[in-house]
């Protein structure tokens, strides 16, 4: 068998466990191991390597599912989604969609949303950040209502019927997987994910604050954005702008 055919057969056997006779003839095993055993070294390594990559990118999903279920699911995903990337950080792009189809989604109906949030986090993480410059110092308060806020490119708001932001932060704060049993994930949450300098941050929002940011993100000026969120408590408005300032969200103030 020439090397090209060997490679085709080897790739096939990693996925199917079905060792072709030609492969057996070509492989010289090590020590006491037989062909099946040496191939399983590579098969297990492949699954482990890609599962670990998924664990690194989707650690909140891992936190929710726990070790056993997460790695069972990761193995199934790896076996049905061969890698075609050079950089493992790009593997698992379809994992959030995949979660939708699993039985775990019934038990944890937020898994897809949580995985998508994590994907956004990593996307932002790998983008180039710009050093923070405070835009608020030079602001004339009389012009505040006419201001438009230009947000960084790498930001998004999100809303969920579940405690996605808290779950995400819990994992980032390195809680153990065993803590997930005590976690109340059934509270609706709204949040803002953004990149500032080299850090990716997350701000919990009220529904009103989220609505204001969405309006601002659409290019509406401050007074129009507040008008569209008419029922919002003035304290929440004030708190929102304080949060944007204290979290050093890089904004450009445009008149």
């Amino acid at each position: 068998m020439d090397f090209k055919n060997f490679q085709k057969n080897f790739l096939k056997v990693i996925s199917t466990s079905d060792v072709a006779n030609e492969l057996i003839k070509e492989i010289r095993t090590i020590g006491k191991l037989n062909v099946d055993e040496v191939i399983s070294i590579y098969r297990q390594d492949y699954v482990a390597r890609l599962s670990e990559a998924l664990g690194e990118f989707f650690e909140s999903v891992w936190f929710v599912l726990g070790d056993d279920d997460f790695f069972k699911l990761a193995k199934e995903y790896v076996e049905s989604n061969p890698s075609s990337v050079q950089d493992l950080a790009n593997y698992g792009r379809h994992f959030p969609e995949y979660l939708k189809k699993t039985s775990y989604q019934r038990e944890f109906p937020f898994l897809f949303e949580l995985a998508s949030l994590e994907q956004s986090y990593w996307d932002f993480f790998h983008k180039k950040g710009t050093p923070y410059q405070d835009p608020w110092d030079s602001l004339n308060p009389e012009q505040f209502g006419d201001l438009k806020l230009k947000f960084p490119q790498d930001c998004r708001t999100f809303s969920s019927e579940y405690s996605l932001a808290s779950l995400f932060m819990a994992r980032k704060n390195k809680l153990n997987s065993s803590d997930n049993e005590n976690f109340n994930w059934s509270l609706p949450e709204h949040a803002f994910l953004y990149k500032s300098s080299d850090q990716v941050g997350l701000i919990h929002l009220t529904i009103g604050q989220k609505l204001i940011i969405d309006n601002l993100l659409q290019g509406k000026c401050v007074s129009d954005s507040l008008e569209l969120a008419a029922d919002i408590d003035p304290q929440e408005v004030s708190q929102l702008f304080s949060l944007l300032k204290s979290h050093q969200v890089q904004l450009e103030l445009v008149l």
């Binding site: 020439d2 020590g31 191991l33 390597r49 061969p82 790998h126």
Partner: protein, 274 residues
């Protein structure tokens, strides 16, 4: 690069791993001669990892070590991959560029593993063409590293060391000699590692890797999860007797310890180098 100008100074580095990023940001200056980064880890990021590697590069020489070139793969290395690597080389100006003597899978199914090749004329011709293309594209010499292999191929007609010497002679590439891989293979494949080293033409050896392995009972596994074993250090000393002052890297990729532990291994390698 100033540290490399004195030929009497041993050059020992460590792998740049994100586990140590907080240490680099707040700890004392790392006491190592150079760093080696996994090329692929920096191809698609301009975020914090890139900020760190740029900072490291401003203070230390840097080697770029690839794991996805798949020189013996079914297809040529993808052009977009080569372009990204070339761009990284232009930014970071590494003193060495390396990848492996292996294949890693196909374009539709990358196994992300360093898979064994047959050491014969057919593979050599394939590799000579690929190495030449890559070196021409990068406009740089590339080092190729011997891998740990849990099987060999019956269609091999040459010894790995002879095969690598010939590749270097005919393509102008260099050798990144992984001493731990030689040791692991010597036990698993039942050959004498000293004889392997005797066959290597050390004029081609431009870098050495040292790592730890695990004994799984039936075979040794190249885990990079611990310090090099005594037998690997013995082989290292034997190699250095043939050519001293080869930049040497301590690899530690699993169960990565605090950075200070790596610095201890660096010191040990420096002691072994003289």
């Amino acid at each position: 690069m100033e540290k490399f100008l004195n030929p009497n100074i041993s050059k020992v580095g460590v792998g740049l791993r994100h586990t140590h990023f907080p240490y680099f940001e707040s700890g004392p200056p790392p006491n190592v001669d150079f760093f080696e980064a996994i090329t692929e880890n920096f191809l698609n990021t301009r975020g914090r990892p890139f900020t760190i590697i740029e900072k490291i590069r401003s203070d230390y020489p840097l080697a770029l070590h690839g794991v996805s070139l798949s020189l013996a793969g079914e297809e040529d290395p993808p052009l977009d991959y080569l372009k990204k690597v070339k761009s990284l080389i232009a930014i970071l100006d590494p003193f060495l560029i390396s990848d492996h003597l292996c294949w890693t899978g196909g374009s539709a199914h990358n196994l992300h593993n360093l898979l064994p090749i047959p050491f014969n004329l057919e593979t050599k011709l394939l590799l000579l063409g690929r190495i030449k293309k890559v070196q021409d594209f990068y406009q740089r010499e590339v080092l190729i590293e011997n891998v740990s292999a849990y099987f060999t191929l019956n269609s091999s007609t040459e010894e790995e060391s002879d095969f690598m010497n010939d590749l270097c002679k005919k393509s102008g590439c260099g050798i990144l000699l992984d001493i731990n891989n030689i040791f692991v293979n010597s036990v698993n494949q039942d050959f004498n590692p000293y004889e392997y080293l005797d066959r290597v033409n050390f004029s081609y050896v431009k870098q050495i890797h040292l790592a730890g392995h695990s004994d799984l009972g039936d075979y040794l596994f190249d885990t990079h999860s611990r310090a090099p074993s005594d037998k690997v250090w013995d082989l290292y000393r034997y190699a250095l007797a043939k050519k001293n002052n080869i930049p040497t890297l301590i690899e530690w990729d699993e169960d990565i310890p605090p950075f200070q532990r790596l610095e201890e291994e660096v010191k040990k390698a420096k002691r072994n180098g003289f």
